[in-house]
């Protein structure tokens, strides 16, 4: 299975019916493709839509129905649209149950860096800082390493996105949570050993006696 698919499928298992969920660009977007049967959630696009549906069929794109990356989407029955002030009121005001975002680095206390590599990548933070500061639950979806270098660090070398700590990091190798502010290995990826995970992780990981393998 592709790393992205493992990550998306594992995160999809965190969704519960009735949740309002915001998916970031990249791997997070794939989570919507793996929604467990019988689960109905509200997906928000921060450009002003709740009830975001799948990418439209060829020729069915509507010029004013787009996602936060400006790409055509569909709206499900029961969808609603609103302006950007309402959209971020939903995000900051405690109405958003879950945000799933990509990550460049996460440190061993759960601080996330995902918006800039100074002097190299300066795209602007968009909604990332509001999402991490404001959502009730924050899940980071990212590959465990970048070109062989660890992304789960003792301390982020890149500027952080918020002082609020994330709740869960899901990679193709591991699920990591932060009880008491300490990175703790909750699950291993399919066919991945604890030793492989610690070797690919710079952060000090708390390893419980028994670490189950992810169910996908």
């Amino acid at each position: 299975m592709e790393p992205q698919t493992i990550i998306a499928r594992r995160i999809a298992r965190e969704l519960r019916s009735g949740m309002l969920v915001n998916l970031g660009i990249g791997i997070p977007t794939l989570v919507a493709n793996h929604l467990p049967a019988g689960i109905q959630v509200f997906f928000q696009s921060e450009n002003g839509l709740i009830g975001t549906g799948a990418v439209p069929e060829e020729g069915m794109a509507h010029p004013t129905l787009t996602d936060a990356a400006g790409r055509p989407v569909t709206a499900l029955p029961g969808a609603c649209t609103f302006d950007s002030a309402m959209s971020f009121g939903l995000i900051r005001g405690g109405h958003l149950d879950l945000t799933v975002l990509g990550g460049l680095q996460v440190d061993q206390t759960g601080l996330l860096a995902n918006w800039t590599i100074p002097k190299k990548m300066v795209p602007g933070m968009g909604g990332a800082m509001d999402l991490v500061s404001g959502a009730k639950r924050v899940i980071v979806a990212m590959q465990h390493t970048a070109k062989g270098n660890p992304k789960i660090m003792k301390k982020c070398t890149l500027p952080v996105t918020a002082t609020r700590r994330v709740d869960l990091v899901v990679t193709e190798m591991a699920v990591i949570a932060f009880p008491d502010g300490r990175a703790t290995l909750m699950e291993t990826g399919p066919g991945v050993s604890v030793a492989q995970i610690t070797a690919a992780t710079q952060a000090e990981l708390v390893i419980p006696d028994r670490v189950p393998e992810m169910t996908l």
Binding site: S45, E46, N47, G48, L49, H62, P63, T64, L65, T66, D67, A68, A69, G70, A75, T81, F82, D83, S84, A85, S87, F88, I91, R92, V122, P123, G124, M125, G126, G127, A128, M129, D130, S133, G134, P159, V160, T161, A162, T163, R164
Partner: protein
């Protein structure tokens, strides 16, 4: 409220003006007004908008034509030309978290001096800003934003200037319509007064100064 020609509406904007522009990745941007600004070669503009779109679309056309002195936006990542001009020091870029940007504009239009938000605390966004503690939580004081002009794209208008929007083309439009000294609205459909149900008016006519048609 006056209905004006496209040419006249843009002729009112002097070089060096500050201009709020609606749109999210060019969806909901008054494209016709943008084209006329390029044609009339308005220079040294300060643009306040969510993003700078992409080359060849929306605000991206103003960037490519090098008409901007400064941009205040949340995201410039899909427009390499913006990043190039920023790195070369040809254009100043102030990056603002999206929820903070829209709230600063809302504050400017709603008669507030600024807003308190937790977004940006402990990040580079905090530099030069006042921290304020309220009930044990730390907030940043973010100041109100106003502009000389707002360029609004609407789906529907009547001849009084009441405006309605379509789907995700709403985004920043109704908020910037409150935040500028002169509001130029460009509408896809202009209907007789009384046709739009009062419940469907999003921007009330008295805040709109000039109406331009956007024939399809």
């Amino acid at each position: 409220m006056q209905t004006v020609s496209l040419e006249k509406s843009v002729a009112m904007i002097p070089d060096g003006a500050s201009v709020m522009i609606g749109g999210f990745m060019a969806v909901g941007t008054p494209e016709r007004v943008i084209d006329e600004i390029v044609r009339q070669n308005k220079r040294d503009l300060t643009v306040i908008a969510n993003d700078t779109a992409m080359p060849g679309r929306g605000i991206g056309k103003l960037v490519t034509a090098k008409l901007l002195r400064k941009v205040i936006a949340s995201h410039i990542g899909l427009n390499p030309e913006t990043q190039k001009q920023m790195m070369a020091g040809e254009m100043e870029v102030e990056l603002v978290p999206q929820g903070t940007l829209i709230e600063r504009i809302r504050a400017g239009g709603f008669g507030l001096g600024g807003i308190l938000t937790q977004t940006g605390v402990g990040t580079p966004v905090e530099e030069g800003k006042q921290r304020i503690e309220v009930n044990g939580k730390t907030y940043l004081l973010e100041l109100a934003l106003r502009a000389d002009f707002a360029l609004v794209h609407a789906f529907l208008a009547d001849y009084l200037g009441n405006l309605g929007y379509a789907l995700t083309a709403r985004n920043f439009n109704p908020v910037i319509a409150m935040g500028a000294d002169k509001v130029i609205a460009c509408a896809d459909n202009i209907v007789p007064v009384g046709v739009i149900s009062p419940d469907h008016v999003v921007t009330p006519a008295p805040v709109v100064d000039y109406l331009v048609a956007n024939p399809s």
